[in-house]
Amino acid sequence: MTEYKTVFGSLDSYEKGRIEIIDDDPKHYAFSNVFEVANKSKAYEKVAVALNQQYALEVIRAEGDSDWFVCDHDETILCMDGEVRVEFVKPDKALHSDGADGSHPIAGVPAGKPMGHVLLRRGHQALLPKHSAYRFSAKKTSVLLQQTLNGPLTKQRWASICLS
């Protein structure tokens, strides 16, 4: 019986695809690779790799402890490589303006009630529930993909990450 090998990418091992243009502009496809983006990012920068109106997907290079973040809407986080712990706190009071899109940093450790934590490895996806505070911790460099909205922390550097 054939043994199939499933190919996932990682920071250390990935092979980027390509666009073969026939009659178009490669920029129209905004083609990038999450591992390449993470390799070029600073720890916990939130670099957009996909944008659809107000919605964004951000690549995060997880390394050590992040700041704490809060958000007024649900978000999700998908571990693409490595191992990342996510810790949650229910803040005693709202920590940023209601209704603002995307995740927001907060200074220091939020006062509030511990909600729990999750430990994510490759392929694991977690909910980042609205109105909670969370932070990431990674003992070794890891890669996350965040489903969120375009917010104050979203970095757009398309010319340097996309095929053109």
Binding site: F8, K27, Y55, L127, Q147
Partner: protein, 327 residues
């Protein structure tokens, strides 16, 4: 109050055992190998395999986003409440020869006919959602049915799979064994520690393991929702059975393995690009293209959609761009 006529117009079984169907001026007839489609200005023949796999997805997706081309002639356009059924609309030669034809139907009417056609024309053992390597063939005279395969419940999480009260994760016990091509995918689940009172808030699951247990191909299903942002991952093997014409920008994130996409102009079908995606690649599909994917080995693809009902009109009017990013 007006009511929609959802009566299915069908005729008794023909010499091959299959019913024939009518939708407005369109007529559909099946024999052992082919589907015959006729309309007031033309006729068309499709392999029953190709036709049923496209028909299955059009039914399950409630006509999806934009255009579902069954092939280079036949297809549907979703207007979200009503649906165009067309022949030759997106084919330059048919339009030039004035052989193209289009009729609009309430969604319930066309869905009712399509579902009955799918049920009557799908024989026992044939699963139009499955990889061709994992199903019996659709050929021959009428031979039973496969209701369970064609009426699968589509996954549609409201927050995320695994959240309390939401869609469940997959397991052997729930009837989702690991697919033969994903036997090497780790099945470990994340460690989840929840303080009392937050059982509905803290959740995590193994998306890759979840996808490794999918029993269908080319069938995006919603696993997480952030307002109108939908993660719709899917497992792909062989060829996307439809050519999807976009009415909005959508994004692909290749989670594993490899897919090659043929991208054409949405209206003319003229080739524009080939997009070759490997694990970790991200690419947009612009709002004015049609695309068809080829996956040599079963792969995991994250389709990311903006579900906003306003987008098609905004893009058609030029108020929203056809391309996602200007750089």
């Amino acid at each position: 109050m007006s009511t929609t006529d959802t009566t299915v117009k069908s005729s008794p079984a023909n010499e091959h055992g299959y019913k024939s169907f009518e939708l407005g001026g369109f007529k559909f007839h099946r024999d052992e190998f082919f589907v015959h489609v006729t309309w007031p200005t033309g006729t068309h023949l499709m392999s029953v395999d190709t036709f049923l796999r496209a028909l299955q997805r059009d039914c399950a997706w409630n006509f999806f986003y934009g255009t579902v081309n069954f092939d280079h002639v036949i297809g549907t356009i979703n207007h979200y409440g009503n649906v165009d059924l067309f022949a030759g609309k997106f084919n330059d030669a048919y339009r030039t020869a004035e052989l193209d034809h289009l009729e609009n139907f309430p969604s319930e009417q066309i869905l009712g006919t399509f579902r009955e056609m799918l049920a009557d024309w799908t024989n026992a053992g044939y699963d139009p959602f499955a990889s061709p390597a994992e199903t019996a063939a659709p050929w021959g005279v009428k031979n039973g049915d496969n209701t369970a395969a064609i009426t699968r419940q589509r996954v549609a999480a409201t927050r995320m799979v695994g959240v309390k009260g939401d869609e469940k994760i997959r397991s052997d016990e729930s009837g989702y064994p690991v697919n033969r091509m994903f036997a090497d995918v780790p099945q470990d689940e994340p460690e989840v520690h929840i303080e009392p009172g937050f059982e509905s808030e803290i959740a995590a699951f193994n998306l890759f393991a979840y996808l490794s247990r999918s029993d269908v191909t080319w069938n995006p299903s919603v696993v997480s929702v952030v307002k109108e942002s939908l993660y719709c991952p899917t497992t792909e093997e062989y060829i996307l059975p439809v050519v999807h014409g976009n009415d909005r920008v959508e994004w692909f994130i290749q989670l594993s393995d490899f897919i090659s996409w043929d991208v054409q102009d949405r209206d003319s079908g003229s080739p524009r690009a080939k997009v070759i995606m490997k694990a970790g690649d991200v690419a947009a599909m612009p709002a004015d293209i049609r695309h068809q994917g080829y996956s040599p080995k079963r792969s995991m693809l994250l389709v990311w959609e903006n579900n906003s009902a306003d987008l098609p009109a905004l893009i058609a009017s030029g108020k929203a761009p056809t391309y996602p990013i200007n750089f």
